[in-house]
Amino acid sequence: MTHNAIGLTKADYRGAPSTLCAGCGHDSIASQIIAAAFELSLPPHTVIRMSGIGCSSKSAAYFLGRSHGFNSLHGRMPAVTTGAHLANHTLRPLAVSGDGDTASIGLGQFIHLLRRNVPVVYIVENNGVYGLTKGQFSATADEGQELKHAGVNHFPPIDVCAEAILAGCGFVARSFAGDAKQVRELIKAAFHFHGAAVIDIISPCVTFNNHDRSTKSYTYGKTHESPLHDISFVPHYEEIAVDYEPGEVRDVQLHDGPVIRLRKLNRDYDPTDRSAALLLLEQARSTNEFVTGLIYLNEHRPTLAETLGIGNTPIAALSENRLRPSREAFAAVMAELLGER
């Protein structure tokens, strides 16, 4: 398949060549973003690339070169994304951020973006370390972890997924940059989710945090990843023909038709149970388990544009006669101020 349903090739979804370190997890994620967008046949101009500052945020230049984008301020991408959504809610923001950008400087904006339910596909490229400033700890680094220059981290990590669930986010997933298929399927599902979708992807930093004692290294991820389920995104439900044993598969249909198919692995897990999701994260934390997959799914909250009653036409596209008061409405307000009525 060289052309997708809208006649574009995969190359049409590529960006500028990456300037990240060779082997960087972020580049694997960029490849899966490109693959997912191609496979979903997303019209590039309907997606906006949003990022803050950091290695991950730089990567916004390395995919979807035909989509508009904004490489904004450190930790403040959520606000810019919120504004863009209000101005034009027909555009789908694809946000890439890092653990410093999201969990350190930008934690407040991250949470407020989610509680307002701006329908963003929010990818956290999480490596527990600052790359561009050369090897300091971020807020997702493990407690007790040691780094060459930064020394020992004495503080517990912020769990991006737990924060997202508590903030009211309805699509919360964790993945591993080395698990290309899972990353891709999650991104596709997230694009069809009605609301904010967070995917926290452990994305090893080959330069500063890929050593043996790191839980964010390739080796650790490959040997410890424990998927909740085998996830696949099924764009058209009618395509599903394979029969499964009862209880083996759980299909969750999204509001616009597609299905997220979760094939059971070695545990029973219901991602629509908020308490169970939080419990899972707590247990994974206490047992040092690297759980991946769709952790929480709840598609019932309205988006911010819906909450504010924005109509079909984006505010940015409203005509002058709707952006200005009518002569009559204006005159009525003036008359009232003049005490004439």
């Binding site: 500028a16 019209p43 590039p44 101009h45 309907t46 906006i48 690339r49 230049a61 070169g65 035909r66 989509s67 508009h68 984008g69 904004f70 490489n71 904004s72 301020l73 403040r76 606000a79 810019v80 994304t81 919120t82 504004g83 863009a84 959504h85 209000l86 101005a87 034009n88 027909t90 555009l91 407040g108 904006q109 407020h112 911010l304 544009a305 504010l308 009653g309 924005i310 109509g311 079909n312 036409t313 984006p314 505010i315 940015a316 596209a317 409203l318 002058e320 709707r322 952006l323 200005r324 008061p325 409405a329 204006f330 005159a331 009525a332 307000v333 003036m334 101020l337 003049l338 005490g339």
Partner: protein, 609 residues
């Protein structure tokens, strides 16, 4: 004591009350009633940073000459707050009138004034006001007493009540009953306070309205096509957004979906971030804040300047540094806002000085922001924003919205090539493509990092330098687009007074006082930054200019000295900020002092005329 010659339509009243007791409502009824009688009025609300219980003062000036600056002296005192009464009384001039509650513990201890003890409780009993409403009705008692003393007409009072309590007939009825009872008591009370000051009907306010600058700005923004508003509550700017919210359904009804999205952000950083995001995506977006919020917005202001994103930021100034005096007025953000952001950042600033300008600047700010593709700041202040001013009704806009240089997909098909920051017109302004534009050439990645003409990341020295040079060219374009200063030339004057914003009434009245003292002056009210050519011309044609402003460091003078260094030593400074609006006698005295100092340093030869 009898005063056969009453002072008519030229006096002031200070009402000293307790915050949260509804005194502002009483003061507004009084002000509206006098305004209804055709007599020019102005009011200054001096309130604490507190919800209930702290002292508050309202100064109401009545001036047939049309002076609306804060009065230096108020000969009528309503001493309804025992906590501040002694201090308030000390401010009262000889022969001044002091109204106070007869049933309180406080009594004025001065023999050179006219005391009038009002039996407040008795009057409220007469009307039968219930306990719950008593604290509020108490203030309406002094309105009734003043109406009797000053001769305020019944019809004017009734209209004022109707305007103040729009659509609440029971409130109108109760307050009218209290006013009438107090009026009747005062009429029957023999007192030398009678007939000393009078309001006589005039026609000077016909066709005018009373409004505050924040409401004027809100109506202006809605008229100017605002589409996204993000804000964080902060005094004295909150009422701007609240007015916008309340007028939105009437001015821009959501018949087919909302025409304006309003979001209360988690802080001012996010507020401006949302505005920048919305401006980038093609909406007219704004925020309103005050000094502390401006500080937080700094990084985004720089991003907006450098990534060239339209945005409108209202700074309703209060007294800083730091939290400062949150409920007092100042003009202290001029320098910091002009250069807000690190590196070589500079901004376009509009400086409204009247209600009409608050309205028109609110619209023009959007036009300029989109034409110049940059954040535009509007510096108002607490005095303009929250006090009530007389205004002519606002005109419905006759010009279409100026949306600036935006390329459609069809344009790109025709052009076949696109570079976001190419200066094709030589004015420093490139062409935008909006997100959602489907043309394959349209997309760029906006950024605050160094970039070339095509908006692609670049660390190349030439790219950086060329870009900064173009941004300067754009600033020069802004110089030509912003509003011209308001200049009044007195051909005999060798002295020019320069100011901006809410100090205009004090400066204008001070010019009359200076003329009476033999000093002729011209005046220039700066309306925007960057300065246009007229600014230098005005300074050049006067032997000496005094810059009057409400901050400590003389910020406007500093900017003017930088703008025209050749004239720097001929620019004097009257910079004063104590949180209160300037008074005309103060400005006169300070200008005379300043001229005296200049004369001593022999920069000014001869007299000031």
């Amino acid at each position: 004591m009898q005063f056969p010659q009453p002072i008519v339509n030229e006096f002031a009243i200070t009402a000293a009350t307790v915050n949260g007791s509804g005194s502002q409502t009483a003061n507004m009824v009084l002000m509206r009633a006098i305004f209804q009688m055709g007599v020019p009025v102005s009011g200054k609300n001096l309130f604490p940073s507190n919800i209930q219980g702290e002292p508050t003062w309202y100064t109401l000036r009545v001036s047939q000459a049309g002076y609306i600056a804060r009065p230096a002296v108020t000969p009528i005192l309503v001493a309804f707050n025992p906590r501040t009464a002694n201090d308030d009384l000390a401010q009262l001039p000889t022969d001044g009138i002091c109204l106070y509650p007869a049933d309180g513990l406080w009594q004025p201890q001065r023999s050179d004034i006219i005391p009038l003890a009002i039996p407040v409780r008795h009057i409220l009993d007469q009307v039968g006001v219930n306990q719950r409403l008593r604290p509020y009705a108490t203030n309406m008692v002094y309105v009734g007493v003043l109406a009797a003393l000053l001769g305020i007409e019944e019809t004017a009072l009734l209209t004022a009540l109707q305007q103040q309590f729009r659509g609440r007939p029971s409130a109108i009825e109760l307050n009218l009953a209290v006013i009438r009872a107090a009026q009747a008591w005062a009429a029957a009370e023999p007192s030398p306070a009678h007939g000393k000051y009078r309001v006589h009907r005039m026609h000077a306010t016909r066709g005018m309205m009373l409004i505050d600058g924040n409401t004027a700005a809100a109506i202006g923004a809605l008229t100017g096509g605002v589409g996204v508003v993000a804000w964080y509550p902060i005094t004295p700017s909150s009422s701007l957004i609240e007015a916008l919210e309340s007028y939105l359904p009437r001015l821009r009804p959501a018949t087919d979906g909302a025409t304006c999205a309003i979001v209360q952000a988690e802080d001012e950083i996010a507020a401006l971030g949302i505005v920048i995001g919305a401006g980038w995506a093609g909406a007219r977006a704004m925020t309103a804040t005050s000094g502390p919020g401006i500080s937080l917005m700094t990084e985004f202001a720089g991003l907006g300047f450098f990534a060239e994103i339209p945005a409108v930021i209202w700074d309703v100034q209060r007294v800083g540094p730091s939290t400062g005096l949150p409920t007092r007025t100042a003009q202290g953000d001029l320098l910091s806002v002009y250069y807000l952001g690190h590196g070589d950042t500079r901004h376009v600033i509009l400086l409204p000085g009247t209600m009409e300008e608050c309205f028109s600047d609110a619209q023009m700010a959007f036009d300029l922001a989109e034409q110049l593709q940059t954040p535009v700041f509007v510096l108002s202040d607490l005095d303009l924003g929250m006090n009530i001013w007389m205004s002519h009704p606002f005109p419905y806009p006759e010009q279409p919205l100026q949306r600036g240089k935006v390329l459609s997909a069809e344009d790109l098909t025709r052009l076949k090539t696109y570079a976001r920051f190419a200066d094709v017109d030589g004015d420093g302004i490139g062409y935008r493509t909006l997100p959602g534009n489907p043309h394959p050439l349209a997309a760029t990645l906006s950024r605050g990092t160094g970039h070339n003409e095509r908006n692609v990341y670049s660390e190349h020295p030439d790219d950086w330098q060329r870009n900064m040079a173009r941004l300067w060219r754009k600033h020069e374009t802004a110089r030509r687009l912003v509003p011209r200063p308001v200049i009044e030339i007195n051909p005999q004057a060798r002295i020019g007074l320069i100011g901006f914003g809410s100090t205009a009434p004090a400066i204008s009245e001070a010019r009359d006082l200076l003329a009476a003292a033999g000093v002729q002056t011209s005046s220039m009210r700066i309306r925007a930054l960057p300065f246009g050519a007229e600014v230098t011309e005005f300074i050049a044609r006067h032997q000496y200019c005094v810059v009057v402003e409400q901050n400590h460091d003389g910020q406007l003078r500093q900017l003017l000295q930088l703008h025209c260094p050749a004239h720097a030593t001929r620019l004097g400074s009257v910079a004063w900020c104590d949180g209160l609006p300037l008074t005309a006698p103060f400005v006169r005295d300070q200008v005379l002092n300043c001229l005296e100092q200049m004369r001593e340093s022999s920069l000014l030869v001869g007299t000031g005329t």
